[in-house]
């Protein structure tokens, strides 16, 4: 093993490999990894180097083995680096970051190799589609963890992801209650009603020229009713509970849908519209059989944008008076209590919920607009 990996025989095959090798050399020059007393054990440090060198060498193996080596090498080294920082917080030196950067480059190489794979089975394709963003995301977290702990960033400015994870695990019932209040009540209701209202307003404006001329400019004004101005008013009108948050979400989601539907209704082709004319098709028939299908890509655009806007809207609206539950309530309260890990726990849950929400909309989009060039593969 050690003869195989004697330094001189290492031959990278990618720029990431070369760069990683250079970083390794730099790390040796700038030894040690940390300033603090316990430091890294010799065995740990050697293992880190071994893993990284294996990963650098990975391209010389058959691709299937190479990918595994890259994956294990990069992530094993990263894990050892992070594990070793315990007890040495805030004392990391350049050498530590160089090794981390090397591991990151190798993970990048791993993702590049994975992206180039042409999986044969559906199952493998799905797995790949999940693995790639996961590695990408994992590295955001790894770097975050390493920097916050390595540099000793104060906990109340930015807690490390591990602390956030622990907090999530310990506060599941509370998070669930907040999600129920904010997402299952305010967001979903507001999203449906707001998007629906924007859609209907666009249809009304399209149907009645008088409304088109009058409603659209006024619709534009609704676009930027700033949430901080509107939220207190909605609390005044609809009370403290989720109804006022839903009202804010309605206002926020209305405009993107209005604008996109109006644009989408103009998107059908001239000849297709002429065809409908030759059938003396009524307004509504043309709408349902031609113009709405042709508008679908635009409408889905709005639905996607709204899926994240609704979430922001509901959470922020809760900064302005709520019962003592809800994601926004928790965030603003826990900031005041310096429980920043709880704040990030809520943010993580929001991000997860938002991604799921968006993903569901995107799946619908693929199913409904299968015929559009952007889905057929452009």
């Amino acid at each position: 093993m050690s003869s195989l990996l004697s330094l001189s025989s290492i031959t990278p095959r990618s720029w990431q490999g070369y760069a990683a090798l250079a970083l390794l050399a730099g790390a040796i020059l700038l030894w040690p990894l940390v300033d603090a007393a316990p430091g890294y054990g010799i065995a740990t440090a050697a293992l880190i180097f071994l893993l990284l060198l294996l990963a650098i060498e990975a391209d010389n193996f058959p691709p299937a083995i190479g990918v595994v080596l890259l994956f294990l090498g990069a992530h094993g080294a990263a894990w050892l680096l992070l594990a070793g920082i315990t007890g040495n917080e805030g004392t990391a030196r350049a050498s530590f970051y160089l090794l981390l950067a090397a591991a990151w480059l190798l993970a990048w190489r791993c993702v590049t190799v994975l992206s180039a794979l042409r999986p044969t089975s559906r199952w493998a394709a799905t797995a790949l589609r999940l693995i790639i963003p996961t590695i990408f995301g994992a590295w955001i977290l790894i770097i975050w963890e390493a920097v916050t702990r390595g540099a000793g960033i104060p906990f109340i400015l930015l807690p490390p992801p591990s602390a956030i994870g622990v907090r999530i695990a310990n506060s599941l019932p509370m998070l669930a209650a907040d999600v129920r209040q904010t997402i299952f009540k305010a967001v979903i209701f507001g999203y449906v009603v707001g998007s629906g209202a924007g859609f209907l307003a666009a249809i009304a404006a399209d149907r009645v020229p008088f409304l088109r001329r009058g409603l659209l400019p006024i619709g534009n004004m609704v676009s930027a009713l700033p949430i901080i101005g509107v939220a207190p008013i909605m609390v005044m009108w609809f009370g403290f509970d989720w109804q006022s948050k839903a009202a804010v979400v309605i206002i926020m989601t209305f405009f993107p849908m209005l604008v996109n539907t109006v644009a989408g209704l103009a998107a059908s082709g001239h000849m297709e519209r002429d065809l409908m004319r030759t059938y003396a098709s009524s307004y509504w028939q043309t709408l349902f059989k031609l113009r709405l299908p042709a508008a679908a890509p635009f409408i889905f655009n709005a639905l996607k944008i709204n899926s994240t806007l609704a979430l922001i809207g509901a959470i922020v609206a809760e900064f302005f008076g709520t019962p003592v539950v809800g994601m926004g309530f928790r965030i603003s309260t826990e900031v005041g209590r310096m429980n920043i890990d709880m704040v990030w726990a809520e943010i993580a849950v929001a991000a997860l919920a938002g991604s799921v929400f968006y993903g569901v909309v995107a799946l619908f989009e693929r199913a409904v607009t299968f015929w559009h060039p952007s889905v057929r593969g452009g």
């Binding site: 400019p217 534009n220 700033p226 944008i305 994240t308």
Partner: protein, 292 residues
């Protein structure tokens, strides 16, 4: 599209309708507190007098349109535009960071969309995280952003503009990914036969084909940008801007001030969206767009 002249009558009549409804609601919403006041004062006013009183409270639940109009007029036209009580001044402060953030956001959104459309690795790895980033409640992180930026010496316009950027790049990115992928397959095939480079296909085909999506997204983005600028004014001490006016109004329950700041914000928003719309139409015209 309709000429400006065609719009005047519909816009004014719909606005008139809004105002009427607004008055009705003002009376309804302000009535309970007025009744409380009268009861404590031991008065029993007649209907007309009572309605009059609901429309002239200093801190009404819903100010009557004329109260807002008067406040708006005073703060817009009767103050020096350099005064920090002038709505024009405050609107300008907000507008400047809106525009900067919008420019950043549009550019960033386009860059991300281009990356996603052209680089398979980015398409697979970046998009989920961009979506996740948008679900982070901005008002929660805005203070931290501003604190961190202030700590490294970045203050003033930039931090506010960055929050606008954060909110506005997403609609552009989503719309442009769709738009850049929207060219007809035969049009792409044509480029293929010319062995056009990706950048040539991009400039000569994908970009023109994405224009309808781009301008639609930019309308949403400019509105989001304005919201971002207003939100960004709060944690920076809320010194000036529409957000500062809103906050001060809220803090002192000056509902009339809040509403006139809201009106100012809405007018700015409508103007911005209209400008983007007009720009879109000019571009469409220049691209030989066929009248509907």
């Amino acid at each position: 599209m309709d000429s400006f002249r065609d719009k005047i009558v519909p816009v004014t009549s719909i606005l008139a309708g809004v105002v009427v409804v607004w008055y009705v609601f003002a009376v309804i919403l302000n009535a309970p507190f007025q009744r409380d006041l009268d009861r404590r004062a031991g008065e029993t006013p007649g209907v007309v007098e009572f309605i009059g009183k609901t429309m002239s409270q200093p801190k009404p639940t819903l100010p009557a349109p004329h109260q807002v109009a008067v406040n708006f007029f005073e703060n817009t036209f009767l103050r020096k535009v350099t005064s920090n009580r002038s709505l024009v001044y405050n609107a300008w402060v907000t507008l400047s960071s809106t525009l900067l953030g919008f420019a950043f956001g549009t550019a960033l959104g386009i860059v991300i969309a281009v990356g996603i459309v052209h680089v398979a690795t980015l398409d697979r790895s970046l998009m989920p995280w961009i979506i996740a980033s948008q679900t982070i409640p901005i008002l929660a992180v805005a203070p931290m952003i501003i604190v961190v930026l202030a700590a490294i010496g970045v203050t003033g316009l930039i931090p506010k503009a960055l929050i606008s950027t954060y909110l506005s790049f997403f609609p552009v990115a989503v719309g442009m990914v769709k738009g850049l992928r929207s060219p007809e397959l035969t049009h792409l095939d044509l480029m293929h036969t010319y062995n056009a480079s990706p950048s040539q296909t991009f400039w000569k085909l994908r970009v023109p084909a994405s224009v309808p999506f781009l301008f639609t997204s930019m309308k949403v983005a400019v509105a989001a940008s304005l919201v971002g600028a207003i939100v960004g004014e709060l944690p920076t001490g809320a010194v000036a801007g529409i957000g500062a006016k809103l906050l001060a109004g809220a803090y002192y329950s000056q509902t009339i001030d809040i509403w006139s700041a809201l009106v100012a914000g809405s007018v700015v928003a409508a103007l911005l969206v209209m400008v983007v719309g007009i720009a879109g139409r000019i571009v469409d015209r220049a691209m030989g767009g066929r009248p509907a």
